[in-house]
C-alpha cells in the first residue's frame, strides 16, 4: 500500500523541478522586518546602508528653530496687552483730568475768571464733593490737577468716557487734602479794627 506507483514517482519528480519565481528580495525584506522585531541584532550589521549622518542634525536644527519661534511668540503675546494699557492710560488722563488740554470745557474758562479775583477758597458749607457745582469745581482744579497725576489715581479711572463732573471727584476724595482755613489760633476778633486811643 505504501508503495508509490510509477505515475506518482513521475509526478513527484516533475513537481521537484517547478520553476521558482524571483521573489527573493521581497521575501527577505519581510523576514528581516520580522527578525528585527523578534531577535534584533546588536552588531549594527543589519544589511542596510547606514542612515545619513546629516539627518539627526537637520532634525536638531528644526527643533531649535521651532523652540525659538515658540518662545518669541509667547513673549510677544505676553507683552502686547501691557503695551496697549500704557498707550491708552495717559490719553485718558489728559482727556478727563488735565484742564490745559480741554480748551472748550467750561471749568477751564471759569478757572481763568476766578484766578483773576482773590475769592475765598471755600464757601464754607459745601464740603462734600458730590454737591459741588461747576463753579466750586473750578476752584479745586489746581488741587485735582496735582493729585491726579499720581499713578494710584490713574488706575482708578474705569473708562475714558467718564465725564469730569461725575468721576474724579468722588474717586479722588480720599487723596485730596482739604486746605486749612487760615491760620490756626486766630479769630475774627483778632482782625477787629480798633480806633487808636490817644
Amino acid at each position: 500500500m505504501d508503495e508509490r506507483l510509477r505515475y506518482e514517482q513521475l509526478i513527484g519528480g516533475k513537481l521537484q523541478s517547478l520553476p521558482v519565481p524571483d521573489m527573493q528580495d521581497a521575501i527577505w525584506a519581510r523576514i528581516k522586518t520580522q527578525l528585527d522585531l523578534d531577535i534584533p541584532t546588536d552588531d549594527g550589521d543589519d544589511g542596510n546602508t547606514p542612515p545619513s549622518p546629516t539627518a539627526p542634525r537637520i532634525i536638531g536644527w528644526g527643533l531649535s528653530i521651532l523652540i525659538i519661534a515658540l518662545v518669541t511668540t509667547y513673549f510677544l503675546t505676553k507683552n502686547k496687552p501691557s503695551a496697549k494699557n500704557n498707550s491708552v492710560q495717559p490719553t485718558i488722563i489728559e482727556q478727563t483730568v488735565s484742564p490745559n488740554t480741554q480748551n472748550n470745557s467750561p471749568p477751564l474758562q471759569k478757572q481763568n475768571t476766578i484766578d483773576k479775583t482773590t475769592a475765598p477758597v471755600s464757601t464754607g458749607a459745601n464740603n462734600s464733593f458730590n454737591d459741588i457745582g461747576n463753579d466750586s469745581l473750578a476752584q479745586y482744579n489746581p488741587v485735582t490737577n496735582v493729585e491726579l497725576t499720581d499713578d494710584s489715581v490713574r488706575t482708578n479711572f474705569p473708562s475714558p468716557s467718564v465725564t469730569l463732573s461725575s468721576l474724579q471727584l468722588p474717586d479722588t476724595s480720599s487723596i485730596i487734602k482739604k486746605k486749612g482755613r487760615g491760620m490756626t489760633g486766630l479769630s475774627d476778633s483778632s482782625y477787629r479794627i480798633v480806633p487808636k486811643k490817644n
Binding site: 517547478l18 521581497a26 523576514i31 541584532t41
Partner: protein
C-alpha cells in the same frame, strides 16, 4: 571540506551569531530549494512566499537547535518548510475526516501521458484537489512519506490518510484522462 560546504558553515555560524548578512546569505542560498517545496503546498506564489518567509523566521529563531550530527541542513530546512506548508493548509481546511480506507485502489493512468506533461501543468491539476487531499498526496507522492508518517504529521489516522490518497488518485485519473483523451 568543499568550498560550498565551507561557505554554508560560515553562513550557519554567522546566523548563530544573529548576523543579518549571514542570515541573508543563508536565505538566498536555500531560497530556490525552500520555495520549490512551498509551491507544492500553496495555491499561488503569494501563498508560497508566506510559507517561505514564516519558515525562515522560524529557522533563524531556532537555528541553535540544529544538530549537524542528526542530519543535514537541507533536511532540517525541508522539514521546517513542509511543516509550515502544512500549517498553511490547516489554517484553511480540516484534515479530520470520518472516512477511512484499508486499501487504496490503483488508478489506470498512462505513465507516458504524465511524462509528456510539464511540471506547471501537473501542479495546476494537483492544486484543484481539496486542500487536505492535496497535502496528503504531496506528502505521499512527492516527499515520500508513508501513511504512518503522514498520519503523525497532520494528526489523522492512517485510514484517513489512505482515503485522501485514494481520492487524489481518482481525481487525477479523471483530470488527466479528460486532458489527453
Amino acid at each position: 571540506m568543499l568550498a560550498v560546504e565551507t561557505e554554508i558553515q560560515d553562513m550557519l555560524n554567522g546566523s548563530l551569531a544573529n548576523k543579518r548578512k549571514a542570515q541573508e546569505a543563508l536565505f538566498r542560498h536555500f531560497y530556490g530549494f525552500a520555495m520549490n517545496i512551498a509551491l507544492r503546498y500553496s495555491r499561488d506564489e503569494m501563498d508560497a512566499a508566506d510559507i517561505v518567509s514564516h519558515a525562515f523566521v522560524k529557522i533563524f529563531k531556532s537555528i541553535h537547535s540544529f544538530d549537524s550530527t542528526k542530519g543535514s541542513l537541507h533536511a532540517w530546512i525541508k522539514r521546517i518548510v513542509v511543516n509550515e506548508g502544512l500549517d498553511h493548509i490547516k489554517s484553511r481546511t480540516r484534515f479530520s475526516e470520518n472516512v477511512e480506507l484499508e486499501t487504496v485502489p490503483e488508478p489506470q493512468i498512462n505513465n507516458s501521458v504524465i511524462e509528456q506533461m510539464g511540471a506547471e501543468e501537473i501542479m495546476e491539476i494537483v492544486k484543484k484537489l481539496p486542500p487536505a487531499t492535496h497535502a496528503v498526496f504531496v506528502l505521499y507522492a512527492v516527499e515520500g512519506y508513508n501513511h504512518r508518517e503522514i498520519a503523525e504529521k497532520i494528526n489523522i489516522s492512517e485510514g484517513t490518510s489512505k482515503w485522501h490518497l485514494s481520492e487524489a488518485r481518482k481525481f487525477l485519473q479523471e483530470q488527466i484522462g479528460t486532458l489527453y483523451n
